[in-house]
């Protein structure tokens, strides 16, 4: 329905976008790379949103997750291969979790607004990542001017499912994660708890729900998921950390996906795939029309507004 709506809204302009992603070389790989990013981060954003909390800082947690992959890789290098492999993934999640623990503590203990704190920490994360990249986890051979990490050796890359097809095991793993979260979150009393906290703290208090606990659990999980997204992105696609990985929009797109998927753990998956598809379509269209790829941000903004307005129209019809 969302696809039909956005397609109908933007008309012919978008119809050309639909084919490019699947016909162009590398398009499908790109779609799934973005899908994994958006879905993993979107799950966290959506989870926090259920409890009424805005994690605007998914981008920062993602960056810290990516940094942690290389911190673990560099400083725990003495571990044997499978242990190090797992440690890198867990380290990324832990990094995201630690990063969001600041706004979580400030929110739960001091009542400080999480939007403000997560926004601030995004800027701090960029500087911190830059510092780590130009110091502790820097590649020794920096002939290329901009600081970057080493490239991960082959045994730390997430392999493709089928040899030549560039779809890694991270894709089914991400979908499985979404389904697990769906079962744990949507099919248990936790959903009611989170929704109640999100709706009204007074009602939640009256119902005997531990508000701090629900807030802390959803926020910490959100940070861990965003950090985890950093691991799958680096180990499944990019293999090295450089300034180019610092694109500032992934966290915001994850928020869009969470909203469009109506905070539903499976809905976010469909929204993420839709936005991954559209982003790649828009990028390839921009390239072929010789327009800067920044047009993609503008289109994402317009799509998001279109979807929000669509929600308004449908709600009005049934109200």
């Amino acid at each position: 329905m969302v696809v039909v709506y956005a397609g109908g809204n933007l008309g012919v302009a978008l119809s050309s976008l639909f084919l490019n992603p699947i016909t162009l070389a590398g398009g499908i790989q790109q779609i799934f790379v973005r899908f994994i990013l958006f879905y993993t981060m979107g799950l966290g954003v959506g989870l926090a949103l259920k409890a009424g909390l805005w994690n605007i800082g998914a981008q920062g947690q993602l960056l810290i997750g990516m940094v942690m992959v290389f911190v673990v890789y560099t400083f725990l290098a003495f571990l044997p291969w499978p242990a190090l492999y797992v440690a890198m993934i867990l380290g990324a999640a832990l990094g995201g979790l630690l990063w969001i623990s600041v706004p979580t503590i400030l929110r739960v203990r001091f009542g400080a607004n999480e939007i403000v704190v997560t926004i601030l920490l995004n800027v701090v994360a960029i500087n911190f990542a830059f510092f780590m990249l130009s110091g502790p986890i820097k590649s020794s051979g920096t002939a290329l001017g901009f600081p970057h990490s080493v490239e991960l050796p082959a045994q730390f890359k997430i392999p493709n499912i089928v040899g030549g097809v560039p779809i890694t095991y991270a894709v089914p793993a991400t979908i499985a994660l979404g389904i697990i979260l769906y079962l744990v979150v949507e099919r248990t009393p936790f959903r009611v708890k989170a929704d109640t906290v999100g709706e009204s703290h007074e009602t939640a208090k009256y119902a005997g729900i531990s508000i701090p606990r629900v807030m802390a659990v959803t926020m910490l999980a959100a940070g861990a998921l965003a950090g985890l997204a950093g691991a799958t992105y680096l180990m499944g696609y990019r293999y090295e950390l450089d300034i180019g990985s610092f694109s500032t929009n992934y966290g915001l797109v994850a928020i869009i996906c969470a909203l469009v998927g109506r905070k539903h753990m499976l809905g976010i998956g469909f929204a993420s795939f839709f936005f991954a598809y559209m982003t790649i379509g828009a990028e390839s269209m921009a390239l072929s029309a010789n327009v800067t790829t920044y047009v993609v941000f503008a289109m994402e903004g317009i799509m998001m507004l279109g979807i929000l307005l669509g929600n308004y129209l449908t709600e009005r019809r049934f109200a």
Binding site: A112, L120, F131, N249, V295, F297, A298, E300, I302
Partner: protein
Amino acid sequence: MSFPLSDIITGILSTTLQLSPFYLFAAMGEIVSEQAGVANMGLEGIMLMSLMSTFVVDYMTGNPWIALLAAVGVAGVIGAFFAFTAIRLRVDQIASGLAIYLFGLGLSFVIFNTVYPTGLTPNYIPLPSLIANWNTVPYLGTIFLKQNIMAYISVVLVVVTAFFLTRTSLGLRVRAVGENPKAADNMGVNVNKVRFLAVLFGALMFGVSGFYFAGNFVPGFQTDVIAGRGFIVLAMIYFANWKPYRTLFAALSFNLVYAMQNEYVSLSGFGVASVSTLFNMLPYVFLLALIPVFGRKARVPKFLLKPYRKG
């Protein structure tokens, strides 16, 4: 390299006063907007569009005042659209604000890139310093007289905003529709009209901020050139509890920390970016550290983020 301490201090204070107005204009706009119950998270997108318009119009006309008009005009149009979605259509404010941000982030560069595809531009003509020969006055010249007229206006704006919100009837109505729209409505206040005006005022101020950014922060336009500084305004007013004078304090102290680390980094001449990036974090960490101290007393406008439906 050795510099006299007095020069260093003068430099730090001058930078502080040069950078603060950008935050002040936007903060006053966002305060009025949020006091009326509407948070505009799209502020950085609006700033980017205004900044881009400033550069393009300035290049074309050579007149910074016409560029200011363009910046404010663009901001007004986007602000009115945001106000329409958030107030009339009751769309989630955070979501539509972020959409406006993405929209501005992308479109600003697309337009700039279309007008100047090679990136080669004429020289940017900035606003003149308040006193042309500020050099002749020792210390105070660099600190105060070097700044342009907009820097002074930003401080006046703080006083005016504080007066407006507490001492004028329209200001009281602004706060009433953010605090208790139903009661305001019962008293005959047109809630959504007041909100619309407040959001529009906010957007116009983001336009002024975007205009001020040119020249004072960057010599030319690039992608994502404001780099989150617009969003920092949200943190400042939160820390300042929506109070204009406290926001002035927040902006000045934030920029003082920024200027100090900046001066330190440039004086110590770190060859690699490595250590300097750690110092770059300082102003943000400083602001963050203030939040548990001051933010716990924060009193959010009661109906912030909540659309109003009559009846």
